[in-house]
């Protein structure tokens, strides 16, 4: 059924259709609307046979999820940014214990300076936690990925994080096709745990493992992700049979066939990139785009296959490996090993900085002429940066960088750009 609703509400409805049994919630922007909606559904009885627990921190949220999942309940929570970092220890633990928890990460920057706006720093900080991480390009895909996530998580006994851009998607009203309960039930069978806390068959879960076996346990975590690499396309195929649309593949290719320039990105910025690709193609530029849906596991072979005929790859990412460059770009480089093509890293959209079509046009044109630096910071205000650097050179007590930058930037404009 077609609906014009907020992304967060679309996700909440999709999660509800998945018949979760335990939902734990702790407020943090921009994820709040999702759990608020779910809380209302539980209270109103619309979502029955479900426990909704308001916890005291994100660390507790993930911990409650761990207990509930280990006891055999289908479990969901959502978080973002500092919240994801605050629960980091439990995030790793959930993956280590092989608990199929599904969590939404409404992607948001990490402070300091505190910033509530979108980028991918939060999710990417957990890239090695053992969670499967899927990135949504649209609200339709965000809601679809949650249904897929429960299926994938429970099949593999692994937690899945569905990443959707904070505000840009979570707070956007757009058209979505909401599946029926029958469709979801057909796709998602009841949860059958691999091991469960049950007095009828007592087991000890989460005990210590020493050097004699730890490497093997860790390798098997890796092997599970490799299994996911095979299962995601299969499940996405099943998904499209039942729901009649494509969602949640490893990657989304857009006009990449014979493209000389392939732009690689994740999340909602793919929409803007596709518009730019169309406009550039119309003027005869050979360019395409590759959206990474499955960030973990990393679909290295598919990336390689997609770009091997290209002359250059531009990785545009909303994250920064401080002191290195790109995070996604580093992964992509793994896929490109041995291929002779130019690779460019572009850091864009940090802390909610809008990624403008006009900026992308200029960027991709420069890339086409191979005039880009290895690492480019899109739309960086160099005047301001240089002024701060100069101030630090000349004054010992130069004050807060964040405050100085804002003073130099001045008042924001009408469109926020």
């Amino acid at each position: 059924m077609l609906k014009q609703i907020e992304g967060s509400h679309a996700v909440a409805e999709a999660v509800s259709l998945c018949r979760p049994e335990v939902i734990c919630a702790y407020p943090i922007s921009p994820q709040t609307h999702i759990v608020e909606a779910l809380g209302e559904m539980v209270k109103s009885g619309e979502l029955d046979r479900c426990e909704f627990i308001n916890v005291e921190s994100e660390f507790a949220a993930m911990s409650v999820a761990i207990g509930a999942s280990a006891a055999g309940a289908r479990t969901y929570t959502a978080t973002a940014s500092q919240g994801l970092l605050f629960m980091a220890e439990a995030v790793y633990n959930a993956a280590g214990l092989g608990l199929p928890i599904v969590m939404t990460d409404a992607n948001r920057a990490i402070g300091a300076p505190i910033n509530i706006w979108n980028d991918h720093s939060d999710a990417l900080s957990m890239r090695d936690s053992g969670w499967i991480q899927l990135f949504a390009e649209t609200n339709q895909e965000a809601l679809d990925l949650h249904i897929l996530a429960f299926r994938l998580a429970e099949e593999l006994s692994l937690p899945v994080m569905v990443c959707m851009d904070g505000f840009i998607l979570t707070h956007a009203y757009e058209r979505v096709d909401m599946p029926t309960q029958q469709q979801v039930d057909r796709f998602l069978p009841p949860y059958e745990p691999r091991q469960v806390l049950d007095p009828r068959e007592p087991v000890s879960i989460g005990a210590m493992v020493g050097p004699e076996a730890f490497s093997e346990v860790r390798y098997l975590a890796h092997a599970k992700q490799l299994q996911a690499l095979e299962r995601i396309p299969v499940l996405a195929g099943e998904f499209s049979t039942i729901f009649g649309r494509e969602s949640g593949r490893l990657v989304h290719r857009y006009r990449t066939e014979d493209a000389e320039t392939v732009v690689i990105a994740m999340g909602s910025v793919m929409g803007t990139i596709k518009d730019v690709v169309d406009e550039m193609r119309a003027s005869g530029v050979s360019i395409g785009a590759l959206g990474i849906c499955s960030y973990r596991p990393a679909p290295l072979a598919v990336i390689r296959e997609t770009v091997k005929g290209a002359r250059r790859v531009v990785v545009l990412e909303k994250s920064l490996a401080v002191g290195l460059g790109g995070i996604l770009a580093t992964d992509v480089r793994m896929a490109l090993s041995g291929l002779h093509l130019h690779g460019y890293t572009v850091i864009a959209g940090l802390g909610g900085r809008p990624i403008l079509k006009s900026s992308l046009h200029a960027l991709f044109e420069r890339a086409g002429r191979d005039e880009l630096e290895h690492v480019t910071f899109l739309d960086l205000n160099w005047d301001v940066v240089n002024r701060v650097l100069e101030r630090e050179r000349t004054t010992r007590r130069s004050g807060s960088i964040a405050e100085n930058v804002l003073r130099d930037v001045g008042v924001p404009t009408a469109s926020g750009v």
Partner: protein
Amino acid sequence: METQIIKFYQTGSFAVGNRLLDESQRSVQANMRRSNSLNSGHRACQGCGEALGARYAIDAAMQATSNQLIAVNATGCLEVFSTPYPETSWQLPWIHSLFGNAAAVATGVAAAMRVKGRQDVRVIAQGGDGGTTDIGFGCLSGMFERNDDVLYICYDNEGYMNTGVQRSSATPPAARTSTTAAIGEEPGNGFGQGKFVPAIAMAHEIPYVATASVAYLRDLEAKVHRAMSLRGARYLHIFVPCPLGWGAASEDTIRLARLVVETGLFPLFEAEHGEVTGRYQIRHRVPVEEYLRLQKRYSHLLGKRPAVATIARIQAMAERNIRRYGLLGEEA
């Protein structure tokens, strides 16, 4: 019928006997059909108070729930010595997640049981004082405040023993630990620090809070039974001596666990919804030196030049407990 009052404890040691009782009246530990929830073969030290406390408490809880029990364990000695994979001493479903989240994990387990209609299955969380009064305190308070259906058991041995005897917020004043050296102007742990979590639990007005000591088996078992007869958040704080961490003889574990009560340093009481409903009254009051003397962690107070003022401050703490909780019985 003529009746004769029998004291079920040995003269001198006050150890409570069972043999004179009918089998049905014996303690859970004296029952041949006890569940042995924490089975033999684990790696605890000789004289470990925590192993004893856990065994008493969980066996009693198993009996109270007809073995329909799930345990969540914080990181710590108890977790490490009981479960080196692929072996486990636990005879009930048991999960260890992290150091600071046992209460929250237990909340999750309880929620799963509720949603699945398994109300007969009860949940306990357990941890040492570090995992309870320090790193797990946020989750513990959250579990209390929501009145989640969990019995949380803290095995208090007054320090981080698993990591090599560091100070916790349950370490008593003047005690030496590896992070509160017995040197300087105020040797050992400082006065006026730390927290007594049973009182904080009471401030949450949860259905049940109790303290217990491994020297008082029947009292401990009765409190577990009482706790399991109630729903909602419950807290049991058990005093468990640590021979290694305290520099005490292994055979003195029970003696220390009794002396700490008889001095008044550790009050035994029960509270429901924030109000004290019962206390264990001291039968044979002893000065704190008798308790301190058995432990090397206090040796700096008791040498050739005893730290009279410090001992007096510790004695004052005992007096305060006796006053506050009304611990003086008829025989004291």
